[in-house]
Amino acid sequence: MFLPTLFWLAAVAIAGVHARSSAGDSVLVVVEPEHQAKYSIFFQNIKDRGYELTFRAPQTEEPRLVEFDAPKFSHVVILAPEIKSIAKDIGPQGLVDVLSRGVNLLVALPQKQSPLSAFAAEFSLILPPPNTHLISYFPERNESATIIPVAPSKDHPILTNGITPIWFSGAPHALSTNPYLVPILHAPAQSFAGEPDSPGDVLADAAEKGGEGLWAGSQLGIVTGFQASNNARVTFVGGREVFSDEFAQKEINPGTKSGNTQFVNDIVAWTFQESLVFRVDKVEHRGLNTPISSDKYTVNDNVIFSAYISKYDPQTSTWASYSGIDDLQLEFTMLDPHIRTALLPESETPGKYSVTFRVPDRHGVFKFVINHRRNGMTYLQSSTTVAVVPPRHDEYPRFLSAAWPYYVGAMSTSIGFVLFSALWMARDVREEKKGKTE
């Protein structure tokens, strides 16, 4: 009774030690050595999830992020936002470069002018002027106005359901309409952006202008993700205090610890490609009445297309068939989609999505295209090229109902000829007999 349970626990423990991420388990943490101890709970949590941490001070060159033109780490955490000068390979250019090679980034944004401000601007985040904080006087509390409890939204796909509110301190940012952005946490409705020393000034200025220019309310983001087209993920956090031991242990209500630890775990899981990671295992297509796949279809053929989709399971580090996507679409395109249809999960085979459709009456080079882009999910892309050809000369229907008068005409002529000949010869014979008898 206990033995299988023990084995199962051991298996989970062993699996948990290595690489819960689908992208790799080496992490470069850029943090000033003197601040390292402030985030010990955060670092310990990442280590417990099976990641190998390598620490580096912002200004030093070693260890290098890119060596021999290949990234040495799968993930980068930058907790040193205030630094004026930063080593070149972890500056904005270097980070964009490794991101385009699939390295995931977790970045705490600065409140002062820093190279990372330019980096955030590359991802369509609009940062406030330097030295701006998020300020809120609600709810009433003992802490200063810049230390704010924020309740994450209830059913965010990235966050654990029912997560307790977290402590936040730092700068907000405005979001542009870039569709690659994944808003994770918004500022509370009563909060606004201002200088902590004289928060009244910004409100007075804004009041004079009728509210114009005031950064306020829940449209502001404080934690925002970005998923690049190569599926590498970046998460920007408005202030590095979110990761700190102090906030993790601080009580949000009397008797309730803050949700910071859980929240940080959730955004790390998303950023490091543990959660919401999907892939298209394979696609297959064939004619409705032919058992084998073909790279050539005739116009108006009926075709079955199937895709197999898996989701990454970080608990076991394996890919499992996943049938939960209900808005998958298939396009059959030649320049434009000639057919766009729902690709629905099949109930018999888990992870299989299939659809049957009629090839359009148009020949040319077509593609089966799946292009599924949903906020926060891995983009699912697949493209298969096939030729659609007109019927061969002997594949057209031979006898058409429209031509029946012609067929009847030809046949009646033949029958008429046969009858005519028979009667003609019968008469010959009769006349001959008559001639003989006479």
């Binding site: 012609y406 067929y407 033949s414």
Partner: protein, 120 residues
């Protein structure tokens, strides 16, 4: 074949009737038999042609086959008629009626062979 002098009133009343009567009276049965076949072929060809004009000429090869089979059969039958006509005996001295029919039958079989090849 001119109308007889004894029936001028009937001829004046209806020339067509006179023509018909003269035809039925003086034409041998054999030629009448051929003529009825020719009439049938002509009607069949007209029906196909009207169908082609009013309804559809698609597939065109079927129309050509059907229509030309009636036309071809008509031509062959018409030649048979002129060769077996007793009035034309002087013209076709070396062609006996049996020979004429054999030519007609062979030509028709070849014609139908082509027609069915072209029909589908």
């Amino acid at each position: 074949m001119a109308p007889k002098a004894g029936q001028p009133a009937a001829a004046a009343n209806s020339p067509l009737q006179t023509l018909w009567k003269a035809y039925t009276d003086t034409t041998p049965d054999r030629l009448k038999f051929i003529d009825s076949f020719l009439l049938f072929l002509m009607l069949s060809g007209v029906i196909q042609f009207v169908y082609c004009i009013l309804v559809t000429d698609f597939p065109f090869n079927a129309f050509l086959a059907g229509f030309s089979s009636t036309v071809g059969q008509f031509v062959l039958s018409a030649s048979l008629r002129s060769q077996v006509n007793p009035d034309n005996k002087e013209e076709f001295k070396e062609v006996s009626p049996e020979r004429a029919f054999a030519d007609f039958a062979l030509g028709s079989i070849v014609l139908h062979f082509f027609v069915y090849n072209f029909l589908g």
